[in-house]
Amino acid sequence: MITKTTAGKLIVAVFLITGVILSISMSILFSQADKTKKTVYLDIKKQLQDFTIFRFNAKYWIGMTNAVTLSNNTVIQEALKNNDRALVKETLDILVKNIKKNTKFKNIKIHIHTKDNHSFFRQFKPNKYGDDLSSFRKSVVEVNKLKQPKSGFEIGRAGLSMRAVVPIIDKNGNHLGSLEYIQGLNSVAKSFEKEQHGSFLLLMDIMSRSDDIDSFTKSEAFQDKYLISQKYIDKTFREYASKIDMKKLFENGYIYDDKYFYTYVNIKDFAGEKLGIALVSKPITLVNYAIKDAEKLIYISFVIMVFMALSIAIFIIISSKKIIVYPIEKLQDGLDSFFAFVNKKNTTIDKLDESLSAEFGKMSKQINNNISVVAQTLKNDEIFAKQLQETNIKIQQLLDNANQGFLYFDNEMIIGGEHSRVAEEIFEKDINGCKITELLYEDDIQNQAYNEESLKDILKEDGLRRDLMLSLLQTEFSINEKFIEAEYKILNDNSFMLILTDITEKKELDEKIKDEQQTLKMVVEVAITHEQFLEIKNDYEIFVKQINDFKHIDELANLRRYIHTFKGLFAQKEMLHIVKKLHDFEDAIDKSIQSSKLTEEFLDVDTKILLDWLELDLVVLRDILGDDYFENSNNISIPKKRIELLYEKTKHIKEIASEVEKLKYHNIKLFFRPYEKLVKQLSIKLEKEIYPLTIDSKDIYIPDKYEPFLKSLVHIFRNCVDHGIEAPEIREELGKDLVGIITCKIEEKDDNLYIDITDNGSGIDIQRIKELIIQKNLSTIDELDKLTEKEIIMYIFEDNFSTAEFVTDISGRGVGLSSILYELHKLDGKIDIVNNFTKGIKFNFILPLKGE
């Protein structure tokens, strides 16, 4: 409906207002039109009255003028004096004849009275005279009394006429009588017809007529109250006029019927007494013309007004359309678009036009701002919803595709609701409605009951105790030949979620890793304790050759002891294959012991089998360390290539990688072990008494690059034995312990490696060194005096310097100590010597380990 829209309402409102304005102005106009009509009536009334009065006045003065003129006529005066009526008649006849002939006044009458108010001569009725007029002719009485002229309407024997009465006074001033000039009103009536297109009717009030009414008998009566006092009568007019409401005429001053517009003028005598009226009229058509002229103006104004009002209304509607409706429509469009967006019919939002007029522009701006916010919110919501949906899909996919099975079960252990595909795959059946405990503990009724009870109890607990009890539930199951890891989650107080993970592969991988780790452990252990390993291997190989010697019931205990020992030794080397075999063999021996007879199992084991058992591990070791690894007992380190290969192979396994990394390093003890032998052998050769060299060190692993330096230390040990420790007899003389001591202490501290080698031998004779320096021309006495003891001692590390008196095959060629210094410097190492002449010497080597 149109009225429902703002635009429609606006249009209706504008038209309503316009209508109201128009009807108000119309009523004003029409009342104005009414007024105009009245005004026109009054105008015409006045015009008619003025015209009448003007005519009356003209008559008045004509009457006066003629009366005065005639009263001064000496003939008339003489005739009056002499009572000569014939003379008067003669004179007046000529006069009246001439007046009638030369003027338009055809109805004039002249009456001369005596000074005692009697009729002297009536020009219009010469035979009637002598009658007393004083009873009804006030004007005549008045004039004769006051000797002053009087004029006006008066009723006489000739009816209502305009009468001018003047005194007749001769040249001597004698008052002779009076002269009356009587005029009819036909000329007035005629002039009305001529000039006003109207009519005139003189009406004498019957009430005011004199007692003598003879002269009026012929007069026509008018509406009973009046007598028509005029000869010339428009008959049509008389007919219409006779029907008008006289009372209304006197009230309003005018009246009209369908032919005439009537008004009147009062007729009064000179004394002001009312005698009748002059009824004057104008054809109503003429009056209506005037009215129509006046009304035409009003109608034109009305039309102009209507036109203007409509124009304004249209203008308002058009402009309001532009100012209000258009922006509202724009707003509406914007909002439509916005809501279309909100309702997801559109994907974009059209912004509102902010260039609209001030208020709408502001509104649009606000709405736009809010739209932006809402749009952003909606977009975010949408993104969120999308993400949520994606997440749900992902979760479902996870549930279905993850290597995990999900299922829910209630406090009666019954599986229900959603569960993932994998969960079914694990149990290999439709699990809905099954009892979880029966699935997990298929044939174990006791465990079914225990777990059901526990799970129910867990639900009754909370917090810490709940967690505690959950942690006690079995988490690994073997279901359908798969290893399954289970995790319980409590969803609410009466149901559980169970997450099942197939860890079969992981377990297998773990096993594999464990195996490899085990192998590596063995390799590393063997490599590190290479010598010891070879010894054990040799011992075992020798032992197994004698196996048959033990195949006797009395030897079983011994055999078991041996086997047990070897088992322990190989276990130290992490050689688990042979350990397992030996363990089983031990069991077999035990059985034989218990049964006091050699079992089949036991007897089957011969040398070859025992060697084969060892071979199980050796194969692995050879594979990694190289075929010739066991051939050369002097091998300390595994060939680098082997290590790299091993490293490449195992670097993805974190646990093993660190073990393998160790293979690149060597236990520092390994490098010092030969020095124990060296010291022992040298002391025998040089006939010195020395306690076995002790290497005080933890397992410190160092890289290859330290090897040359550590090997060069052989010169220090040689020197200690050769030059340091005195011969026993000398030591005895000196009061020293006959047996010398050489110690070696290795320490890792603050990223440095400290190697201290000490002997309690003779120490260095500084004086002797100085002599040798000078002797070898290496320096001068003066220069040496400036040096500290330590600086002087450092000369022994110079090339070709030897303090020994004789070069032996053990030391003294002077190249040994210098090679230590050379290797030490390569490693940025330092040396410090604490010399105590006759008491001993201490070499402190400091090697940086940082970054290794």
């Binding site: 225990y450 109890d457 505690l468 009890m469 006690l472």
Partner: protein
């Protein structure tokens, strides 16, 4: 810091638990080598915490650690009892907890495990 009663039939385990607890700053107020003595000592000493071995010889009607827990809880329902247990004893631990035990330590006993368990029953350790 807590006062602790150690109940275990193995002297070695008792000493181990004692050592660790003392290093953590707790005070050992008593030792018992069976459940019966444990319950008796608890009533005498009112310790903050009890460490309880599960498998112990039955003495005077107290069958084992699980039973001892029941007796102690009957006496003091707020007793803090930590079970000392090994793999494979889960069901026994479960029973102990149902009887009122508040925690358990799975052998081998380490300082971290003991610290955590004692903390869980409400006592901080010194280090």
């Amino acid at each position: 810091m807590a006062t602790v009663l150690v109940v275990d039939d193995s002297r070695i385990i008792r000493n181990g638990v004692k050592n660790v607890l003392e290093k953590l700053g707790h005070t050992i107020v008593g030792e018992a080598e069976n459940g019966y003595d444990g319950v008796k000592l608890y009533k005498e000493l009112y310790p903050d915490v009890v460490t309880m071995d599960i498998t112990m010889p039955a003495v005077s009607g107290v069958k084992n650690g699980i039973d001892a827990v029941k007796h102690i809880i009957e006496f003091d329902e707020f007793a803090k009892i930590i079970m000392i247990t090994a793999h494979g004893e889960e069901q026994k631990v479960m029973q102990s907890i149902k009887n009122g035990a508040t925690g358990y330590i799975l052998k081998p006993i380490t300082r971290d495990k003991v610290r955590d368990s004692v903390k869980r029953v409400g006592f901080d350790s010194d280090n």
